[in-house]
């Protein structure tokens, strides 16, 4: 027994840590209870849900494939156009901001902060909000959709790009400086070739995301396949809704495959 008393005791948590951990757990439980009270789950609707799902499934079947060529195909093409335009526009706006946000390419802290603010601000406003804004400005249609996605893309593109720039080899830039290169020349002959792989990877990734984003934009009238989806839901044409959902699903998978193939071969 004496030996036991002399053994080193290992205590995983100090009493203060125990109290803190208990407080965190208590807070989490309280948050869940509070949330459940706020969202007001109505039990009757919950019991009813399986029957509703079966009912909707029945109305969605059989899928109205005949509607694809006249109704869905043009909308799908518009969606892809919106995504492509938005990606190009987003790159044109995001990359200059990305350079301004990179601390090594733009060694002026206040410019970095301003650029970072632009990146955070454009990204924190969701695509749907941008779309509402541009629909109000230019009226409903693909232009508003493309602009909405492009502006939302700025933050993502700029941030990824500026990180790529900040990781580029300092020594190579130093060598150009030593040769008397201006800041613009350092970008053209130094930073740009070094971040080219990042550029392609960001462009492809963002295009992939933008196709998915442009599919839902029609819900606020900003063009594309979402418009078709919205009107099919409003008109209770469930067999067309299922066709549109299936189309979106297939397109997203196809694009995933395409992007993966390009990545493997190019980057």
């Amino acid at each position: 027994m004496n030996a036991t008393a002399e053994m080193n005791r290992w205590i995983r948590f100090t009493p203060a840590q125990r109290v803190a951990r208990f407080a965190v757990y208590l807070g989490m439980v309280a948050a869940i209870v509070w949330a459940l009270k706020t969202i007001e789950v109505i039990p009757e609707f919950l019991y009813d849900a399986p029957a509703q799902v079966v009912d909707m499934g029945a109305r969605m079947w059989p899928i109205d494939f005949a509607h694809f060529w006249p109704g869905i195909w043009p909308a799908l093409v518009e969606t892809l156009h919106i995504a492509a335009m938005a990606t190009i526009l987003g790159l044109c706006m995001g990359i200059p901001v990305g350079f301004l946000a990179a601390r090594n390419a733009t060694p002026f802290p206040w410019v970095n902060h301003a650029a970072r603010f632009v990146l955070v601000a454009t990204r924190s406003i969701s695509t749907l909000l941008w779309a509402l804004f541009f629909v109000a400005m230019f009226g409903p249609g693909p232009l508003a959709g493309a602009l909405a996605i492009a502006f939302h893309s700025i933050g993502f593109i700029g941030k990824m790009f500026s990180e790529g720039v900040e990781e580029s080899n300092r020594g190579s830039i130093e060598a150009l400086q030593a040769a008397g290169a201006t800041r613009m020349q350092q970008i053209v002959m130094g930073y740009w070739p070094m971040v080219l792989p990042t550029f392609w990877s960001v462009a492809l990734f963002r295009w992939d995301i933008n196709v998915r984003e442009s599919a839902i934009l029609g819900l606020v009238g900003a063009g594309g396949i979402g418009v078709a989806l919205n009107s099919a839901i409003d008109l209770l044409q469930w067999d067309r809704v299922s066709l549109i959902l299936l189309t979106i699903f297939v397109v997203v998978i196809l694009i995933e495959i395409i992007v993966m193939q390009i990545r493997r071969r190019v980057i």
Binding site: N169, A179, P193
Partner: protein
């Protein structure tokens, strides 16, 4: 008049802890001047102060009628293009071709738009080809820089520096990443190119033997001060001890 004249140069990265204390040097002629000394004694800082990759705390650096320590903006760039620099890690832009890397030595003379379109003048391109041929890389012009070995990359780095038509060449430990045989070849190349182009060279170097073999003048630094300045054969055991400290490492 000497090419480069450094007067009372001092550099403190942290106030009160000088890396360079009080350096005064005159560089002239067309030979190699080697700076030796232990790591952390300010050799690199000294070289980088000359072309203002590092801003000195005080002192003057006179080169071609200007005090480099006081220049900024376009004047600094104009001065820098007359000072070529060779780096330990070569510092090529690895995703560009050998030719593009050599031509980037001309950036101080052309506009960004010209550089973007790679519309360098025929003279520049001809000169770049001649230089690549001179260093034995004539067939590598269109290869990407990251396909080259260390020694080949350093040759490209030297071509880039010579492309600037410099009045002074700086080299910051140009052989420290290379094997002994390649190191000697690179030193020979720098010595010969310096002679052919009539340019004095200032080299930071760790290998004392290389310094003695190729330099016409050796500057020993220790603790941010010049402790030896003279001919290579004046470099005795005593002076080496004074530069590097200790003595066991000198025993043979």
């Amino acid at each position: 008049m000497s090419t480069l004249s450094i007067r009372q140069l001092a550099k403190e990265y942290v106030a009160g802890k000088p890396v360079l204390r009080d350096i005064s040097l005159e560089i002239e002629g067309t030979g190699i001047t080697a700076i030796i000394g232990p790591s952390g004694t300010g050799k690199s800082t000294l070289i980088r102060c000359i072309n203002r990759l590092i801003d000195p705390t005080s002192g003057e650096i006179h080169f071609e009628g200007k005090d480099l320590a006081k220049l900024a903006g376009a004047e600094l760039r104009a001065a820098r293009r007359r000072i070529g620099m060779v780096f330990q890690e070569y510092n090529l832009v690895e995703r560009l071709t050998v030719m593009e890397n050599v031509l980037s030595g001309r950036l101080g003379y052309v506009s960004a738009w010209t550089a973007f379109r790679r519309k360098f003048s025929n003279d520049d391109i001809q000169r770049a080809f001649d230089l690549l041929k001179r260093v034995g890389l004539a067939d590598f012009a269109n290869r990407r820089a990251d396909e080259l070995s260390g020694g080949q990359r350093q040759r490209v780095g030297i071509c880039r520096a010579v492309m600037q038509s410099p009045g002074l060449l700086l080299a910051d430990e140009p052989t420290s990443s290379l094997d002994p045989k390649t190191s000697v070849e690179i030193m020979e190349l720098m010595r010969d190119l310096a002679r052919e182009n009539n340019v004095p060279v200032v080299i930071n170097i760790h290998q004392v033997q290389l310094a003695q073999r190729f330099a016409e003048r050796i500057i020993g630094m220790s603790g941010g001060l010049v402790v030896y300045d003279g001919a290579p054969d004046g470099l005795t055991q005593d002076t080496l001890q004074k530069i590097y400290g200790g003595e066991d490492w000198l025993a043979t």
